[in-house]
């Protein structure tokens, strides 16, 4: 089985080299036979890689410790369900998994443009094949998960205990899909540019769809990661601006800019060059993430896939970036926009400012992440650039972005006349003051939180105004209000789906603002029988149990928790000690309500059950997790395809 895996990697390597060469030759000699051949070559790669994926999983499930990677990342005592996903717990396997994902996405990417963007096919197939070649080559030569050990050990080293969590089944695959999927819009758009048909805006719809697919994957990946950190790392936070978190955030920022500015190209035929640049930046940042994740120079809490391969990825990133810049430069003429901005106060310039802000945040994040390396090489002294720095630098910019999210939807395209502006601003400014008054009554006093919450409420007010206006117009046309509402949403899905996502973003922001400014925490030294009060919660430490497993000892504490008037029940935070790894994994027990989370986690545990328990009251975190389905629904809604009719006619604009 292991040999099958090894050989299939070799075959996949040969085929992807073949596809790269043949597709470029096909493009050069305009030979459709060569193009078709290279395309079918690419189509076979995922099926061949599937063999190696299956064989590595088989090796894990059957505990074949003769394979070094299996030996390093699993053992006999780990829960058997985790052996199915242990393949992406370390460097070599996660690389194989990413490559497999890339090959699958490549096939879908190529199929999606097969008919509509025929002219770009040879180039897109070429780019994707070259990418695949690089990845498979790295696996085969430098990080082969099928390398054998000379002596077969009796037991493996085991999976990093921090990975033994339900999140392991979803977060890594989704995050990896998100990061690698940026390659598809990159390859498609660059393929179009290389084919010399960049002026033809037919690529916009497909580019937008792929941009949104990677965007939603990155969004879900980041949110699952935050949720995981919140529940297992036991410090009550969800985002620490850790280098690896940043490396997932940066491509997300670039893709967020992209999926917005592509709308300007879709509706107004502008920002053509800018969109190409954005997708190149997005892909570069995604590759940078792989560099940082795989043995980058910055210390991070996510050192699961650490290796010495990082520099290889850095080199490849620089090469792709350089080539992309060359392509944009040589084909710059066809990327000029047909139209220019009409006025400063217009939807287009709001989009442009939003784009610039997202890129600024990405740049500052990058700057803070790599600065320690820079500082060390200049002054020889190591420094840390941590959360307070990023909060200070990026926080205000995020607030400005939310503000733009509030005014963007109500500002018209092209040119806003003064009357139009006063008209659309009437209701929002009134509602805005009402909201401030309301927040004032709620005793929101922190200056930054007050600004944050009020801007969030402005977003909602403006969206409501947009919806009410649209529904009324349709109601006058004879529809019932509810029917009118759904018809309105259905009629312009990219737009209203986007608004639904905006609502999700507001929910998320409210959670971030609430928990950043109003969370409180305290450590309590407690023995069984003790009772304490914190933040209006009354919690009694009833007893504890110790449970021994093969690989760990779990100490579980039982707390009877009551809020002001009602009983919440028994919460069971626990701490698992893995002697082999010398790691104690703690898991907080959380009682989550829309108002606030009551979070309790053991930070020290003695043998007699006494210990230090950290209690946190995190306001509004609930909203952050609830926003995820809203964001996903909004994205799917806006991606829902139109019937053919709308495709070639001028897009519907309100």
């Amino acid at each position: 089985m292991v040999e099958t895996g090894n050989i299939s990697i070799l075959i996949a390597l040969i085929i992807s080299i073949y596809s790269s060469v043949i597709s470029l030759l096909g493009a050069k000699f305009k030979s459709s036979e060569l193009m078709i051949s290279s395309r079918y070559g690419l189509y076979t790669v995922p099926f061949i890689l599937l063999f190696s994926i299956v064989s590595i999983i088989y090796a894990f499930v059957t505990h074949d410790f003769s394979v070094q990677y299996v030996y390093e990342n699993s053992n006999l005592s780990m829960p058997s369900s985790y052996t199915w996903v242990a393949l992406y717990a370390g460097n070599a396997g996660s690389l194989l998994f990413i490559t497999f994902l890339l090959s699958v996405l490549s096939v879908f990417g190529v199929i999606s443009i097969r008919n509509k963007l025929k002219y770009a096919l040879p180039y897109t197939v070429g780019i994707l094949s070259i990418l695949l070649t690089f990845f498979i080559f790295v696996i085969f030569v430098f990080a082969n998960p099928f390398d054998r050990l000379e002596m077969v050990p009796l037991d493996g080293l085991g999976m990093n205990p921090l990975l033994v969590h339900f999140g392991m089944f979803i977060h890594p695959p989704v995050q990896m899909t998100g990061l690698i999927s940026v390659a598809i819009p990159f390859a498609i758009i660059l393929g179009v540019v290389l084919s010399g048909k960049g002026t033809d805006d037919r690529w916009v719809d497909i580019g937008r769809i792929w941009g949104m697919i990677s965007w939603i994957m990155l969004t879900i990946g980041l949110m699952l990661g935050s949720w995981w950190a919140y529940t297992i790392l036991g410090w009550g936070g969800y985002w620490a601006w850790d280098p690896v978190e940043n490396s997932g955030l940066m491509p997300w920022l670039a893709m967020t800019a992209f999926i917005h500015s592509i709308m300007v190209q879709k509706y107004r035929g502008m920002f053509r060059m800018w969109n190409v640049i954005l997708v190149v930046i997005g892909f570069t940042l995604a590759q940078l993430g792989m560099f940082i994740n795989r043995g980058g120079p910055v210390p991070s809490v996510h050192s699961f896939a650490a290796s010495t391969l990082g520099w290889l990825f850095l080199f490849f990133m620089i090469a792709t970036l350089f080539l992309s810049i060359c392509v944009i430069f040589f084909f710059r003429k066809q990327l000029h926009s047909d139209r220019k901005l009409d006025a400063i106060i217009s939807k287009e310039s709001v989009f442009l400012s939003q784009n610039v802000l997202f890129l600024l945040i990405a740049f500052f994040t990058l700057w803070g992440t790599i600065y320690p390396v820079f500082s060390e090489s200049v002054s020889g002294e190591t420094v840390t650039v941590g959360k307070p720095y990023f909060d200070l630098v990026n926080g205000p910019l995020f607030l400005v972005i939310i503000f733009l999210m509030a005014i963007g939807p109500i500002i018209p395209w092209r040119k806003a006349s003064f009357n139009q502006l006063t008209n659309v601003l009437k209701l929002p400014s009134f509602g805005f003051v009402i909201c401030i008054l309301f927040l004032f009554i709620l005793r929101i006093r922190n200056p930054l939180a007050l600004i944050g919450f009020s801007i969030c409420s402005l977003v909602i007010i403006n969206l409501l105004q947009e919806w009410i206006r649209g529904v009324r117009l349709r109601h006058r046309g004879g529809d019932q209000y509810i029917v009118a509402f759904f018809k309105l949403l259905w009629a312009n899905r990219p737009r209203y789906g986007g608004y639904i996502v905006h609502i999700g973003i507001v929910m998320f922001s409210v959670g971030v603002i609430g928990s950043s400014f109003y969370s409180s925490q305290k450590d309590f030294s407690m023995s069984p029988g003790d009772t304490n009060i914190f933040g209006g919660y009354n919690f009694k430490y009833i007893n504890y149990t110790n449970e021994d497993y093969d690989d760990r000892t779990e100490s579980i504490a039982y707390f009877q928790v009551e809020s002001k008037d009602k009983s919440i029940g028994v919460l069971t935070p626990f701490r698992a000690l893995y002697p082999q790894f010398r790691i104690a994994a703690t898991r907080g027990a959380i009682n989550s309500t829309p108002k606030e989370d009551f979070y309790i986690v053991p930070s020290q545990f003695e043998d007699d059950g006494s210990g230090v328990f950290r209690v946190l009251i995190n306001p509004m975190v609930w909203w952050m997790w609830v926003s995820a389905p809203v964001i996903i629904f909004g994205t799917l809604f806006s991606l829902f395809p139109y019937r053919r009719k709308a495709k070639n006619s001028v897009q519907f604009m309100e």
């Binding site: 050192s303 006025a343 400012s353 959360k387």
Partner: protein, 143 residues
């Protein structure tokens, strides 16, 4: 020109009322905002001191024994009446500058702090001139 018109109309119209109202309530809200208790100070300090043996984690986050000890030291020093600065220096002397979660605001590391505001200013100015330039071109075409 449009800007002037907007400013004029805003100052005359009822919008001024909203803006004044907003600023008034905002200032009123912020004016009696105060948060400073001992526990908050300790948590803030913990959140700004890195655990030297756990990559990328502060002593507030980490479950490591050293982090626990360091948290206790912070608690102790605060109880003894040390200032934040003194406590930070205490740890810097022992573990080097990287024990603090942000680079020092002096020497070469000033650069990390200065770059974002400088880039931000350049971007805003650049964006302004870019947009303004478009306006001018359009006016010329109109004429």
């Amino acid at each position: 020109m449009l800007n002037k018109k907007i400013i004029n109309t805003i100052s005359k119209s009822k919008y001024s009322l909203f803006i004044v109202g907003y600023i008034f309530i905002y200032l009123l809200s912020c004016s009696n905002y105060a948060e400073d208790s001992l526990t908050n100070r300790i948590v803030d300090l913990n959140k700004n001191i890195m655990c030297p043996v756990c990559p990328g984690e502060t002593i507030d986050q980490s479950q490591n024994i050293l982090a626990v000890q360091m948290r206790n030291i912070v608690q102790e020093k605060v109880d003894q009446g040390w200032s934040d600065e003194q406590i930070r220096n205490f740890f810097i002397e022992r573990y080097g500058a990287s024990v603090i979660s942000t680079p020092p605001k002096s020497g070469i590391d000033l650069f990390v702090w200065i770059l974002p505001p400088v880039v931000l200013t350049i971007t805003i100015v650049g964006l302004y001139f870019f947009l303004k330039n478009i306006k001018n071109k359009e006016n010329i075409e109109d004429n």
